[in-house]
Symmetry: C2
DNA sequence: GAGTGGTCTAGACCACATC
DNA sequence: ATGTGGTCTAGACCACTCA
C-alpha cells in the first residue's frame, strides 16, 4: 500500500516521546496563556482559524483543544461572537445547600461583622500554599434573607493578594464576594470544593444566627481555587440544619 | 464563487424543518435502540464505520453522536475493543453521603427486615408513572458495617416489573441492589436523583439504627430512573447526622 | 457583508486489543 | 493480521452576530 504524500509535513498523531496528543498540548499551551494573564478573564481569544494557523494544525484539532477547556470551565463559546475566557464562578451560592422559606433565588444581604489581618495556622498556610508568617485577611460575615440571619461565615484570604479588600470601606462592599475578588483584586475563582458536615455552633455563633445554643447546624468547609489551581480562599459557613436541603444527581 | 459538486448528495447540516442537527438525530435514533432493547445493556454496538455506512453519514458525524451518548452515560467506549451499552449504575452508594469510622470503601452488609406488596399512595404512583391500584413491592432494609447498623432504608419498587424479587428467597439477596435489578428483572438504573434533608427518626427507626429516640439524622430521598427516563425506584434512607459527610464541587 | 463558531465530509494514519 | 476506537487533515457549507 502506498502512503499519501501530505504537505507540508506528515506529523504523527501523538508526540512520540511523551505520548501526549497534539490537541492536549494545544490545550496545555492555551491554559498557560489564561493563567499567565496573556488572555485575561472576560476577553475574547483569537478565532479558531487564527489559532489553527498560529499553531500549524488543522481546524478540527484546535476545536478539540477548545472543547477540553470549555469542559473545564475555562472558556465559553458563543456562536457568531467568539470564544471567551470565563469570568469564573459568580456566586457558587452557599444557599444551594439550604432552603429558606419564601426566599428562592434571592441573593441574601451581607454584613461584614469583623475584618482583621491575622496569621494563618500552619494547616491553613499549607492549604493556601503560603509561607509563614502567612498573613491573611479574616472576615466574619453574616448573610440575611428579609432581615433574618441565615448563614454565618468565617473567611480567610491570603495577603497581599487581597490587600485591596483590607482598606475598602465596609459600606461599599457588595452582597456577592467573588465578583468583588475580580473587581478589586483581579482574582478569578475557577472552582470551589465544599465539604458538608453536621455539627453544633458555639454560643457566639448560635447567637449571631438567632438560634438556641447547640441548635443543630450544617457546616460547609469551602476551598476555592483560581485557574492556576492555587487555593485562594478558605471559608467555613454555618446554617440551621433544619433548613438544610441539597439535591445530588448520580449518572 | 462556484460550489463544489459533492457526491452522492449535498445534504444540509441541519434538518431544514426542525433545526435539529444530524448528529443529534443520530443520537436520538441510537438512544431509542438502547431503550427498546435492540442494543441490550452490556453488549457491543456496531463499529463506527458500520454506523456511518448504515446511516449514510461521515465518520465524524457518527463520532459526534456517540460522544453525546457517552456524556449521558448511556455508552462507554474502549479503544481497540469497541463501544458498549452501559450496565448503568452499579452502586450509587448511599455511603458517599456518610463517613463511618474504619469503613472506607467497604460495601455494607444488607439485611432485608421486611418485604411486602402494597398499594402506593397517589403521590408515589404519580412519581412512578403507574395507575391505581399501583401495586408495589416495599422493602425495609438495614445496612451494617462491621456488625453495626448504619443506614435504614425504605424502598418502593413498581410491580409487576420487580415481581422476581417478590419470590426470591431472602437468603440469596446480594449486598448491592442495582445489580440484582438487572440480573433478576432486566432493569438498568441509568440515573439517580437524591434529595438530602435533616430530620429526626421515629421511635422504631431510631431503635433499628441503635440510636436514641429523636437522635439527629440525615434523610436521603432517592428517585432512580432507567434509560427511558422512567422512575423505577423510590427510596428513603436514614443515617446518623453525626456521620454525615459530603463533598461537592462547583466549577 | 464580514467574521465567528457549528456542522459535515472523505479521506489518512496511529495506538490498542484480540485472535 | 485484523478490527476497533483515537487523532488529524483540508477542505466545504450553515447559522448566528454585529457593524
Amino acid at each position: 500500500m502506498k502512503t499519501v504524500d501530505r504537505s507540508p509535513a506528515a506529523l504523527p498523531a501523538r508526540e512520540p516521546e511523551t505520548g501526549v496528543s497534539r490537541y492536549a498540548l494545544l490545550a496545555r499551551e492555551m491554559r498557560q496563556r489564561v493563567v499567565k494573564g496573556l488572555w485575561p478573564a472576560g476577553s475574547a481569544i483569537p478565532a479558531e482559524s487564527e489559532l489553527a494557523q498560529e499553531f500549524g494544525v488543522a481546524l478540527g484539532t484546535v476545536r478539540q483543544a477548545l472543547a477540553l477547556l470549555v469542559a473545564e470551565g475555562m472558556l465559553e463559546r458563543v456562536q457568531g461572537r467568539g470564544t471567551f475566557v470565563s469570568q469564573g464562578l459568580s456566586g457558587a451560592s452557599m444557599l444551594r445547600f439550604f432552603r429558606f422559606r419564601d426566599a428562592t433565588g434571592e441573593v441574601p444581604q451581607s454584613t461584614i461583622l469583623e475584618r482583621r489581618s491575622v496569621n494563618a495556622t500552619a494547616e491553613q498556610a499549607g492549604l493556601l500554599g503560603i509561607a509563614p508568617p502567612a498573613r491573611c485577611l479574616r472576615l466574619k460575615r453574616l448573610r440575611s434573607l428579609q432581615g433574618s440571619p441565615v448563614l454565618l461565615e468565617d473567611i480567610l484570604l491570603p495577603l497581599p493578594d487581597f490587600e485591596p479588600l483590607q482598606r475598602l470601606p465596609l459600606k461599599s462592599w457588595d452582597d456577592l464576594l467573588y465578583p468583588m475578588f475580580w473587581k478589586h483584586c483581579g482574582i478569578t475563582v475557577a472552582r470551589a470544593q465544599d465539604e458538608l458536615t453536621f455539627g453544633a455552633p458555639d454560643a457566639a455563633q448560635a447567637a449571631a444566627l438567632g438560634l438556641q445554643p447547640r441548635h443543630p447546624c450544617i457546616r460547609v468547609e469551602r476551598r476555592a481555587y483560581d485557574f492556576a489551581g492555587r487555593c485562594i480562599e478558605l471559608r467555613t459557613t454555618l446554617g440551621d440544619a433544619h433548613a438544610f436541603h441539597y439535591s445530588a444527581e448520580t449518572r
